[in-house]
Subunit: 415 residues, 2 copies
């Protein structure tokens, strides 16, 4: 709540490391220019990161006639981060080096019946164990594990307050995981995970205001406001999927009608298709992934039905994104998650047109709409980033409370 000068330090530390990860190797001068900090501050922060072993000096670069610039780069082997993406049907785990390259990957299927927390935890534990052995990392080098679970999450206590897909209520997920996983754990939800991924490594890097729109089975928006993630008062900001877009429209699983999600979530898109062409060969019964894949292929092959579905979907999505643009006035809107990746450019193109039609001129002029440039699972990456942030935060902590000052007050020593 209260701001202190330490927060400034933490933010700057993030900023510098972000920059180094983005552009490795790099010089202190470049960092100072990129961050707007003074050379001296950059030097001390770089020193800190060197001491931590997160970066290393990797040589020199010619300067314009003077002393050569020292170069620093991410010390990829300086530690490992694990990102866990828990979803309705799978648990996806990736292990990253400090350059945020994927070193190992594991996936566990979650069967429709397996809705007990213990079962899900079991999958996570197995997959985490798997990536650690795959990568041949010694445990001590794992800096932390970020865990993303759908729904509402209390990150302070590590409780999954509500997970709609399994109807979890107040499951102490982090406690359950701690029993089996010795690394530092960080819990949050996929919305915020992918937003943080964009903020650190994706299209929102360096932007103070951004909206990361997640298009998957569920729909949501990660909000980057004033340079940081906006969480709201109870860490549930960004629930955009249940915004009313068509009053008295389609029934949503949340119980309301006309929610955004029912038009542009994977199930909504399938419905768009079904309404347009009830027995289209593109439809794959209940298989969302297969249907969206088929749609993407259809668009590529110029199938008129597929094109119309994308057009229709973009009409809804564009109107929704325009609303976000008007409301937040962001620098950039990033379309993320698997539906956006699968439908790709054709969807983006149509969305841009729809946004241009709907948004007000001034906010529109300040905004660009892009696809997420992150090639891997953004939720895993984002979850791992939570772990990275956690590791960086502890740097600032007091590195050990001093022993109690044993000062005899009433008695003088022997004498």
């Amino acid at each position: 709540m209260k701001r202190t000068s330490r927060d400034i330090r933490t933010a700057n530390r993030y900023e510098v490391l972000r920059q180094i990860i983005a552009e490795s190797p790099t010089s202190r001068q470049e960092l100072a220019a990129a961050t707007g900090l003074s050379l001296a501050t950059v030097a001390t922060l770089v020193g800190e990161l060197l001491d931590l072993g997160m970066i290393t000096e990797v040589g020199f670069e010619d300067s314009a006639g003077g002393r050569p610039r020292g170069l620093v780069a991410v010390n990829a082997s300086g530690g490992a981060l694990i990102g866990v993406d828990i979803a309705e049907t799978y648990v996806h785990v990736e292990l990253f080096d400090l350059g945020l390259n994927v070193l190992a990957r594991a996936e566990e299927d979650v069967r429709p019946g397996e809705s007990l927390p213990e079962q899900v935890v079991g999958h996570v534990v197995t997959a985490v164990g798997s990536v650690v052995t795959q990568a041949g990392i010694e445990g001590a080098r794992v800096l932390g594990v970020g865990v993303s679970v759908p729904g509402q999450v209390d990150r302070a206590t590590g409780v999954s307050e509500y997970a709609p897909n399994w109807d979890w209520h107040d499951v102490p997920l982090l406690d359950l995981l701690t029993e089996h996983i010795a690394y530092p754990l960080y819990l949050d939800n996929p919305l915020r995970a992918s937003a943080v991924a964009e903020l650190w490594f994706g299209a929102a890097r360096g932007r103070g205001n951004a909206v990361v729109v997640n298009l998957g089975t569920g729909v949501g928006a990660g909000l980057v406001l004033g340079g940081g993630l906006h969480r709201g008062v109870s860490n549930s900001a960004g629930e955009w999927g249940h915004t009313t877009m068509v009053l008295d429209g389609r029934l949503c699983r949340c119980g309301n009608h006309g929610c955004v999600e029912t038009y542009i979530g994977a199930r909504g898109i399938m419905l768009n298709l079904r309404e347009l062409s009830p027995d289209s060969p593109l439809l794959h019964a209940e298989d969302q992934t297969a249907t969206i894949d088929a749609l993407a292929r259809g668009v590529a092959a110029d199938d008129p039905v597929a094109r119309r579905v994308v057009h229709e979907t973009a009409r809804y999505l564009g109107a929704g994104v325009a609303d976000l643009v008007n409301l937040f006035n962001p620098e950039i809107v990033v379309l993320s998650s698997w539906v956006a990746r699968t439908l790709g450019e054709p969807l983006l193109h149509e969305v841009r047109e729809a946004v241009t039609r709907h948004a007000l001129p001034r906010p529109l002029a300040a905004t660009e709409v892009v696809l997420s440039p992150i090639p891997t699972d953004p939720v895993c990456l984002g979850a791992a980033t939570f772990a990275l942030e956690g590791a960086l935060q502890t740097v600032g902590q007091k590195n050990g409370k001093r022993a109690a000052p044993v000062r005899s007050r009433t008695t003088t020593p022997s004498s």
Copy 2:
């Protein structure tokens, strides 16, 4: 953009003064408890404000057995602030003392034809002159004038980039005003003015996250996020009125269909009434104020048509507010501006029910929906607050730039 430790000081200064204005007189201890600052910091900030003449020491209060607490209070006569609310049909100006009590008030009508900037500026100048002479204030004590003008505003340059009602484009309003008004001027729009008013003196005081919904002829949302006003990247955040709520719904003046404003703005409410009862006696042709007043009286008299109109309006508004609750996860939603004030409790009651139906349980649980408790024109008050913020900010400024260090580089002094 960049945060510095000075920002912390400014924020704390705001916080302390806010608290003093809210609760005058008060003691340093109370301030420390309320703000979470240390006694020492509070003492220095109080000292600063005393030096500025914005507050005064007003006596003592018994403590629990020790030295009595010194009490401080706003020094009402320590300065005056002027708030200017420029709207489509009027210019409203109020002069406040430092306790933010209205000392004088002036109103000028803006005729339908008078759309030239010079004409509007003329009205503002007349009204400002009027309140100053009415209050019998000497010019030197006016700390500043806040000006609110509808539409998009560049507050740094003082340009009204776009005002929809008069079709202004890039009018250098502040420059025009500076020619006739000698006091420091601050420009912004009514959305943000009323948000700041709530933040300082209204229902959002002390809240880190709040949404101020403006219900007038136009509709918008002032966003308080992380303790401060969210402006977006080009100072146009909060344009909520043109959010699509009914895809392909009513035509809006912005050119789109189904905007929130067309259902819950004053004109939209009139339309709701007309659709329900085309020749209702409540309808007053084009007079928005008269119609909304009639509606309010109708509801009070249990007129079934009026009640249904309010119910219908609340259905739209509730859905919209629920969207904001889901998206921002605020602590409080404040309904402000004249339509909200006129329809009052009956509207609020229906809105609360609608919000409860539409919002997700977790964000809903953290939020309350209230009417603005500000008794006067919140836009004038907010505009005056901009002036107050401005006056406080200059405190921190370097109190005089040093003369340029004339250091001869190439020649040594005489010798």
